[in-house]
Every structure is written in structure tokens, then in C-alpha cells.
């Protein structure tokens, strides 16, 4: 297999320093909706200035470059072992170049490995597919917003949440309220209904790969997504928790099969610095979207 390390380094650089256009556009729209001269608008101004400056200087938008989460889709015959080795090499190189902060800490010794490599760090998901090209999706998932993710097991009497979409609605509103400004609002909320505890959280995070403007193909889910965007923004938490009209930029929901005994609702919180990029490698040509 060819040496793709330089392409992977570039994928990481772009993800860490160059906020995707849909996220930036959503932040700009939010800025326009906040009251002139408000703390909310001032915060969004600082955010947008920082986005621009990070792009120009090629420096991380946020110093917490998070957990690098790689979803790798590869044609039949490719070696996932080699892909993993090359991506890990690229992660170490990107760390040395200050595109990533050294973020992998041994939970028992407290030692930071210094290069973002640990036994299970970064995170990989490999999937063989029928296409003839390689696609690598990368998201950088920050720790502050990871801390405010929440999982509910329905029914939940504290909020009158039954095992239905109304129960899901209640759980998601509670999660956004509990997070306040601590996860760096305005957020994208990824929601999974069903699964087991592990697969449910993973599914909720996979929602962050979706374009902000898309809608779920199931009209009932799409309607709930839209309703939750509006209702979460009624909470008044606002950018950074300073108060204001923009608490979430988007809500993305999907579902999984579940056991009869289980009904999980998992809400993952992605900070405004919603960093994700995709590398396509086809016929020896690499493009980053």
C-alpha cells in the first residue's frame, strides 16, 4: 500500500484548524439573531474572529483537540492494519507540529504519552465497503463537551418520560438544560434512541458526521429534530451560557434496535467548535472536504 501519511496529516490539520463551512454559516446566522450589543453577540463575534484567525494561521481552533475519532471506509483488499499504522503515525506527526495537543493520559498512572498514541487512542472504526476508493472521516471530539453528554434509561419518572418520542424529547431537553454553558454552547446535539449503553452513545456521536442542514429521512424523526432545535433555544442558556437565543445549532437523531428490556436515549454534546473533515483518496488523488 502507498504511503498516505502526508494526506492523513493534512486531514488532521484541516480538521483542527479549519472549521467546516456549514458550522461557520450556522454560527454567522446565530450572530445575526442575537440582540445587538448583547453578551451573546459579543461571544459569537469572538468565536467567528477566532475561526478566521485559526484558519489563516493554521493553529488549532480550540486548544482541546479532543479525541480524534476516525471512521475509515475502505475497498475490498485494503489492509486495515496498514491503514491504522499510517494514521497513528500521522497523529504523532500532527502532534509534533502542534496541530493536536497531546491528549492521551494513562488513567492509572496519570502519565500523558505526549504523542496522542495509546493502546486504544485514537479511536478507529473500520468498515469495508463496495466503493473503489478510500474515505476517512475524522472528528475531533473535545473533552469539555464530552463531560456533559448524558444517557437516559426510559421510563424516567423524574421527568415523566415514557418509552416514546415524547419521552425522547423530554430526555434531550433535560440534557441540554443540565449542560448549561459548560460544554461550550451553541452545540450540536447528537441523539441515539435504543441500542445498548455502548452502541447507543456511539450512534449518538456518529450523528456529528451529518451535514448540519440535512434532515432525517423518517419524517417523524425529522420533525422531532426541528422541534428540539426550537425548544432547546427557548431555554435561554445562550452562547457560552451567557444567556441568549442560540443554545443549539442543530439536533440530529437516529435510532438503533434495542432489547425488549432496554430503552436508552443517549445525547452527545458537540461544542460549537464542531471539527470534522473527510479525506477521499481515489486513483492516487487525495481531496479533503
Amino acid at each position: 500500500m502507498e504511503n498516505l501519511v502526508p494526506h492523513f496529516v493534512e486531514l488532521i490539520r484541516r480538521a483542527a484548524t479549519d472549521l467546516p463551512a456549514d458550522v461557520e454559516a450556522a454560527l454567522r446566522r446565530a450572530r445575526g439573531q442575537e440582540e445587538a450589543g448583547s453578551a451573546a453577540q459579543g461571544t459569537l463575534d469572538a468565536i467567528l474572529e477566532n475561526v478566521q484567525m485559526s484558519r489563516e494561521r493554521s493553529t488549532p481552533i480550540c486548544q482541546d483537540t479532543g479525541t480524534p475519532i476516525f471512521y475509515v471506509y475502505y475497498p475490498t483488499g485494503w489492509s486495515t492494519l496498514t491503514l491504522k499504522k499510517q494514521i497513528r503515525e500521522a497523529v504523532a506527526e500532527a502532534t509534533a507540529k502542534s496541530y493536536l495537543r497531546p491528549n492521551s493520559v494513562n488513567s492509572l498512572t496519570g502519565r500523558n504519552t505526549g504523542n496522542n498514541l495509546g493502546e486504544d487512542f485514537p479511536y478507529f472504526h473500520f468498515e469495508e465497503w463496495e466503493e473503489d476508493y478510500l474515505k476517512v472521516e475524522l472528528m475531533l471530539k473535545g473533552g469539555g463537551c464530552e463531560n456533559v453528554g448524558a444517557q437516559y434509561s426510559l421510563p424516567d419518572t423524574r421527568m415523566d418520560a415514557d418509552r416514546d418520542l415524547e419521552g425522547v424529547r423530554r430526555a434531550v431537553l433535560d440534557a441540554v438544560y443540565q449542560a448549561q454553558g459548560m460544554g461550550c454552547a451553541p452545540a450540536v446535539i447528537g441523539v441515539a434512541i435504543g441500542g445498548d449503553r455502548g452502541t447507543s452513545y456511539l450512534k449518538s456521536k456518529e450523528q456529528f458526521y451529518r451535514p448540519l442542514e440535512d434532515a432525517h429521512p423518517d419524517p417523524k424523526i425529522a420533525a422531532l429534530e426541528q422541534r428540539l432545535i426550537e425548544e432547546a433555544n427557548e431555554l435561554g442558556v445562550g452562547p457560552m451560557g451567557f444567556g441568549g437565543k442560540t443554545t443549539v445549532l442543530s439536533v440530529k437523531i437516529d435510532s438503533l434496535e434495542r432489547l425488549p428490556a432496554c430503552y436508552f436515549v443517549s445525547a452527545s454534546y458537540m461544542c460549537w467548535a464542531d471539527r470534522r473533515r473527510t479525506l477521499i483518496y481515489r486513483d492516487g488523488q487525495a481531496t479533503i472536504e
Binding site: P60, C62, N112, G143, N147, L235, G236, M240
Partner: protein
């Protein structure tokens, strides 16, 4: 809402003059400390009857820097130049609430005048701010390149090997570091106010 320039060391009077909502520009020295640093401080400086001999030099240096000084909840992205000097590349605030169990003791122990972070802190820290004359300054989370551009110089780093780059004590000189007072020395907290307002709106949404 006023715009105020703060210079370290900061006097108690300057802190008592601040109110929630005031915008400040900070000039002078600050020292980063986050999760592992707070654990280290509690275990070496605050809980034991005497500071261990091996840690006394750092304790004295932090006492010097933090008397009337500023702590910054931050784990930066750094770069070392060919001459060996460190630079802050990307350095926004980290979530402060994790230090809530410790910060009141740390403020009292060192005589801190300001803690910079994001997301706000709880009632224990708010009470310490009132008692000792300190404020919580909120920086914009994620605005890391912008904030790093106000860091003029990294003058020292302590415990980098033991705690790792993000969690070390980085001593920085800043000019025009932008922040907003969200918890003042008069017992006021913007975070409490927003939490109460959003709790009421949540209850209304749940009633629909």
C-alpha cells in the same frame, strides 16, 4: 457594564469595584492550573501540615506569582522554538466546574484575585470570592487562537514532565487578555441567574 483594564498584582479594591457583566482586559502575569495541578496543590500545599521539602521551591514561586495574582484554567497547545523558548499556539479556557471542590481553598491559600476559566463555578467558590476579594473571569471557550494572541511570553513551566503539557503550570505574561466578570466579590453569579431562568423555561416546556 464597564470595560476595565486590570494589571497584576491586582489590589483588593480593584476587585471589589468589579461587577458581573463587566468586561476586563488583563495585563501582567498569570499561571495555568487545571485538573492535575489542583490535585497536586491539594496534596502538597493545602492538605499536609507542612509542604514537603522537595516541593517548597515551587510553592514559594507560586506564592509570589499568585499573591494578588491570576490563575488560568487552561491546557494549551504549545510550540518550542529552535532557541528552546516556549510559545502558546492555542490556549482557550477549560471547563472550570471540575475544580469546584478545591478552588475555595486554593484562593484562600494563595490570595488569588482572579480565576479565569469557562462555564462558571459553584457556591463554594462564589463564597470564597466574596470572603477573600476575588472574581471569576469568563473567557470565550474555544476561542483559542484569539486568546493565545494575547499571550506575549511564556516565562516558565513547572511540572511539565510529571503532569504533561496540558496540565503543567505555565507561567505567562499577557497583554489585553479578554474576559468577562461572571462571578463577582459581592456574591453575584451570572451562572446562577442563567441556570434559574433556564430551569423555569424547562419546566414550561415539560408542561407542554
Amino acid at each position: 457594564m464597564a470595560h476595565i483594564e486590570l494589571h497584576t498584582p491586582i489590589s483588593e479594591a480593584a476587585i471589589r469595584a468589579l461587577h458581573v457583566g463587566d468586561q476586563v482586559s488583563l495585563h501582567g502575569m498569570a499561571v495555568t492550573a487545571r485538573d492535575a495541578a489542583h490535585k497536586y496543590i491539594m496534596e502538597n500545599f493545602i492538605r499536609p501540615p507542612a509542604v514537603p521539602a522537595s516541593e517548597q521551591a515551587l510553592h514559594a514561586e507560586l506564592q509570589r506569582l499568585w499573591r494578588g495574582g491570576v490563575m488560568y484554567h487552561c491546557g494549551p497547545v504549545v510550540r518550542q522554538d529552535d532557541a528552546g523558548r516556549w510559545h502558546f499556539v492555542s490556549a482557550g479556557p477549560t471547563t472550570s466546574i471540575r475544580e469546584e471542590p478545591y478552588e475555595a481553598d486554593v484562593i484562600a491559600h494563595f490570595g488569588l484575585r482572579a480565576v479565569i476559566g469557562k462555564g462558571g463555578m459553584g457556591p463554594k467558590t462564589l463564597a470564597a470570592c466574596r470572603e477573600h476579594g476575588a472574581v471569576y473571569l469568563h473567557a470565550v471557550g474555544g476561542a483559542a487562537t484569539l486568546i493565545a494572541s494575547s499571550v506575549q511570553e511564556v516565562t516558565a513551566v513547572y511540572k511539565k514532565e510529571a503532569l504533561g503539557v496540558p496540565e503543567a503550570f505555565w507561567v505567562i505574561r499577557v497583554a489585553g487578555f479578554p474576559a468577562v466578570v461572571t462571578m463577582d466579590a459581592h456574591g453575584q453569579s451570572l451562572h446562577e441567574r442563567i441556570a434559574e431562568g433556564s430551569a423555569q423555561r424547562l419546566a414550561a416546556l415539560m408542561a407542554r
